[in-house]
Symmetry: C2
Subunit: 238 residues, 2 copies
DNA sequence: TCCTTTTTATTTGTCATACAAGAAGGTTAT
DNA sequence: ATAACCTTCTTGTATGACAAATAAAAAGGA
């Protein structure tokens, strides 16, 4: 689920390890990490590799280092919550119901607005990509193919806004769709339901109808929400 | 304008320097950087410090390093556009008109939705912070105090949603308000105009009226836009 | 006794050097 | 012509040493 490839390099591995521990709550805000020498020894890497990892975690707002005092875990309000890694770490050990609701709220804010913007600003090439993604959903042979094409469709909508700031929010949409895919009943029926929505969104964008695009996308996300709520009531997530 | 404090440490300085050059376009996507040894020499730091800087830039999606081939500048679509540093670097050498419009679009999407969400979810403490910020705007002795209180107000709205993902978008709002403050006519009159809007937003949130909060915030951002457009037509930005 | 100044100890920050690992491009053998 | 093998260049990692910063303790003065 959601590979972050950076586990090849040593310092990348340390980033993953510590990042997951911090976001996952095993290391708590205010906690003082062991000093670099010891921590490096404990992680079985050199101080050099450890420090490079620390700089990355620091760039993500997870830790803060100061001479003499050491490196401590920062409070969640400083974390770069929209960072793809931070989002992934948050989902690593099963996302809380609360977090899922926040992801859905983000989708409900971003995606309808993006669809409307796409209807206004998209160009021919971007429209074609949307159509390709939709076609891929129609022709999907299995659920995994379907999910991949769906992701592509949503990314294509964001891209079609021609606003790279909006495109950068794809990490959030991706995470939301990922948890949706994991948490909801993985039957073809549940998914194919939303295909008509996709088609209407595509149509509205093609016809340059921002408000229609917005409304349809709104319904699509709302359906996700109700589908999810039904699911989680059924299986009782915490 | 918009301090990023990390210029104290050496590697922090390198991050700033290279980040600014990349985002500012002096180093272009696909460009191959000099190899670490030479670059370190050229920047007058050790290879160690340079590499720590590189890891940070890599974490922001600006560069990509591979053995034997070297480190090259990535294409803008990979940049973490919502990162506070990236946004700041983008504004460093006078933001383009195009970028300002994208910032405004983000505000128009995020802030009304956040105001509505705040009206639904905010607690007593968060409401108090909103009221404090508003009071600070009323009592501002000069434009700088006003701008600071205004920023605080907008951050308080995001915080009041109780959705940390939304709060993380404050870097965007901050940048938008910053450029607005720089580009628009810096007269008391232009600013005091929006105070009634702030009051109405505050009232709507206090009274738990999501739709009223949304509409009022929408008007507030729209006013910013028209104010700005008027301004840029006048002085002809490109 | 209380406050200010100085010292000290500890941790991160930086440096220099050496070697390992990976990969592109050319070389050789089949 | 193709495939396997080298060469070589660059990043990746390790190590040891020292500089800089600063929190905490010690010393000095009112």
């Amino acid at each position: 689920m959601m590979k972050t490839k950076s586990a090849r390099s040593l310092h990348g591995h340390v980033v993953q390890e510590l990042g997951q521990r911090i976001v996952g709550g095993k290391l708590r805000p205010g906690d003082l990490l062991p000093r670099e020498e010891r921590l490096a020894e404990h992680m079985e890497v050199s101080r050099t590799a450890l420090r490079e990892a620390m700089k990355v975690l620091s760039a993500k707002g997870l830790v803060e280092s100061r001479p003499k005092v050491g490196t401590r875990v920062r409070e969640p309000r400083f974390w770069h919550q929209l960072d793809a890694d931070v989002l992934a770490w948050r989902c690593a050990s099963m996302p809380t119901e609360d977090f899922v609701q926040k992801l859905l709220e983000m989708r409900e804010i971003i995606e309808p607005a993006a669809a409307a913007s796409a209807a206004r600003h998209c160009n021919a090439e971007q429209l074609e990509r949307l159509e390709m993604a939709f076609a891929a959903m129609e022709n999907a042979a299995n659920l995994d193919e379907w999910a991949e094409a769906d992701l592509d469709f949503h990314e294509a909508v964001l891209t079609a806004t021609n606003n790279e700031l909006l495109v950068s929010l794809f990490s959030v949409i991706e995470t939301a769709l990922g948890t949706f895919f994991v948490l909801s009943a993985r039957t073809a029926k549940n998914f194919k339901y939303s295909l008509p929505h996709h088609q209407k969104v595509l149509e509205a964008i093609r016809r340059r109808q921002p408000e229609a695009a917005r409304r349809t996308m709104q319904r699509m996300v709302a359906d996700s929400r109700s589908n999810m709520n039904r699911q989680s009531r059924g299986s009782g997530k915490g």
